[in-house]
């Protein structure tokens, strides 16, 4: 018999990450990323996702994206087309197939 995963091991989470309003320029200009987060004991939350993004996607100049353990001022986070403020911000627990958008506010005209 194959060794089973630990009982309290959560399944991997597949999410769609999007960057817009210029934030995509920090990620080689790629607006959409299909991402699978490995299964872990605790469910994934946005705080951990930010760390994951820094380690895996963000190569240069992290100060243009994060500040402390949150996003820098001027970046809006959207969880399934809603302002993250309505969803629990950093504590929001990621569900399979979630759509997380990081949008930089534009200042042109």
């Amino acid at each position: 018999m194959l060794p089973a995963c630990g009982d309290n091991m959560a399944a991997p989470v597949r999410i769609i990450l999007e960057f817009g309003g210029g934030a995509e320029l920090l990620f080689d200009g790629m607006k959409k990323h299909h991402v699978t987060l490995a299964g872990q004991e605790q469910p994934w939350d946005i705080k951990q996702l930010l760390v994951w993004i820094q380690r895996n996607l963000l190569k240069e100049r992290p100060e243009l994206f994060v500040q402390g353990d949150s996003v820098r001022p001027g970046i809006l986070v959207l969880i399934n087309d809603a302002d993250w403020e309505l969803m629990g911000e950093l504590e929001y627990q990621l569900q399979d197939q979630d759509n997380i958008v990081f949008i930089s506010t534009l200042h042109g005209g």
């Binding site: 817009g20 001022p73 001027g74 309505l86 506010t105 200042h107 042109g108 005209g109």
Partner: protein, 471 residues
């Protein structure tokens, strides 16, 4: 009896006379139009003055009915809605890529009064997106140029062009003047710097006006209606201003003119819905437009925040403050000037010209992105974009090492080869010098002297070579 010839002459003369009469009528109309246009040319305001109340129209004239018939037929609007629009005053902050279409569609729809504010003059590089200005308006105040075009479109709209900068000292006085008759006033902003956005927001909150705000950059647009029907204000969403170095404006990032055009039309739509009495559906909503993928997206935003500094329960901002200090950046759309290097790490364009004239061996490294190098470049420069240097891309480093060793061979004795870094304005070139120095100390590159050219290619164009393109 008239002969056949005679009667032919008569009818030919009659036809000629008729033709001349038509010509006279056309000329008289042209003259009348010109005279009318001259007398009603809008007067440019250099400071905020108090305005007379709008003269209220009790009913629609026969001409009004003909002119606005297509919108009067809309059940959502009707006569009542149209009369409401004609009583509405709107202040448009910025007569640029967004402000132009906003003003154009509001005027066409018969808005009562338009305040048109801009402190800039029309430049050639504005014309691809700022569609109220024409080639002959270059050098003219944007507010006046916009007002003249609007007057030609609809002479019954009252235009108030303001050639001034919005400041904490004049903003409230100005904003409070809009509206006069109805309680509906919208402030459409296309101001593209962060301090002005906070200034306009706070002025609207403190005087109880809704703010129809949009922005556009590259191939994207965003729109939200703030401080409307209990919804959040700009500060509710962005309590802390972004770090200045993260803000990109149109002259840095580029923009396709039709994108602000679309967003400005969208602003005009929301203003007209509010003015006519239907109300906007964009309160507590962020509408995003991705022109590349032709995709619109509507985001549900947080409600008004009880702890908001200006619209919350215990506001700390009860009058306008110093927004440049608050944001740590200037209230201008012009580019920032970095100062990362010491004086001996930089040379002027004049000094660089001397180096060229004396054929002093060196390498000119252009660190702009490829898209800008395609527009124009100095033919003898080597292009490696700053991003390629910063990420230490192997083929870029190889190229650089090659060119430096070539340079060494050309030079007599053990002189150090010289590299001069240039970019558009002299900001990125400073960062690049720091990156290169780091690579030398980490012995990724052999030693050479490296300096940047102050003011970049745009200084080269203004001071040394007027035929070099500016963008």
């Amino acid at each position: 009896f008239w002969s056949k010839e005679m009667s032919e002459d008569v009818s030919s003369l009659k036809a000629q006379l008729e033709e001349k009469k038509n010509e006279i009528a056309i000329l008289s109309r042209k003259l009348a139009q010109l005279e009318k246009g001259q007398t009603s040319a809008p007067e440019l305001h250099h400071k905020v003055t108090s305005l007379n109340p709008l003269t209220e129209k009790p009913a629609l004239s026969r001409e009004d009915i003909l002119r606005y018939s297509r919108q009067l037929l809309l059940p959502e609007l009707g006569v009542r809605g149209h009369l409401n629009i004609s009583k509405t005053s709107v202040l448009i902050v910025g007569c640029g890529g967004l402000g132009c279409p906003v003003a154009q569609y509001l005027a066409a729809a018969g808005i009562g009064r338009l305040g048109l504010l801009d402190y800039d003059e029309v430049e050639l590089s504005n014309l691809h997106r700022q569609v109220l200005h024409g080639e002959e308006n270059q050098g003219q105040a944007k507010a006046l140029s916009a007002a003249s075009t609007i007057k030609r479109l609809n002479s019954s709209v009252e235009c108030v062009p303001y050639h001034l900068q919005l400041t904490p000292d004049n903003a409230l006085q100005l904003v409070q003047q809009y509206p006069h008759i109805t309680s509906v006033v919208a402030i459409a902003t296309s101001s593209n710097n962060v301090p002005t956005r906070y200034l306009v927001n706070d002025s609207c909150v403190l005087s109880g006006k809704p703010l129809v705000s949009a922005s556009a950059l590259r191939m994207e647009g965003q729109l939200t209606v703030y401080n409307y029907q209990g919804g959040p204000c700009y500060r509710c969403l962005y309590p802390v201003p972004p770090p200045p170095e993260t803000v990109t404006n149109c002259s840095d990032g580029g923009v396709l003119g039709v994108v602000p055009g679309i967003m400005g039309c969208f602003q005009a739509l929301e203003v007209l819905k509010m003015a006519s009495g239907q109300g906007s559906s964009c309160s507590q909503q962020l509408v995003m437009f991705d022109a590349q993928d032709s995709r619109w997206r509507s985001i549900r935003l947080r409600p008004r925040q009880p702890d908001c500094a200006v619209c919350g329960e215990k506001p700390s901002v009860t009058r306008l403050v110093d927004y440049e200090a608050f944001c740590g950046s200037a209230a201008t759309d012009k580019c920032r000037k970095l100062n990362l290097l010491s004086k001996d790490q930089r040379i002027t364009v004049q000094e660089y010209k001397c180096l060229l004239d004396t054929a002093s061996p060196h390498l000119l490294l252009d660190v702009r992105p490829l898209v800008e190098v395609d527009i124009c470049s100095l033919p003898f420069s080597l292009n490696i974009p700053l991003s390629g240097l910063a990420e230490r891309k192997e083929d870029n480093l190889l190229l650089l090492r090659d060119r430096i060793s070539q340079l060494k061979q050309q030079m007599a004795g053990d002189c150090q080869p010289a590299v001069y870094v240039i970019c558009k304005l002299g900001n990125d070139s400073q960062t690049a010098v720091q990156v290169l120095e780091k690579m030398m100390s980490g012995s990724e590159l052999s030693n050479f002297t490296v300096k940047d050219v102050i003011g970049g290619l745009m200084a080269w164009a203004t001071i040394i070579d007027p035929t070099f393109p500016q963008y």
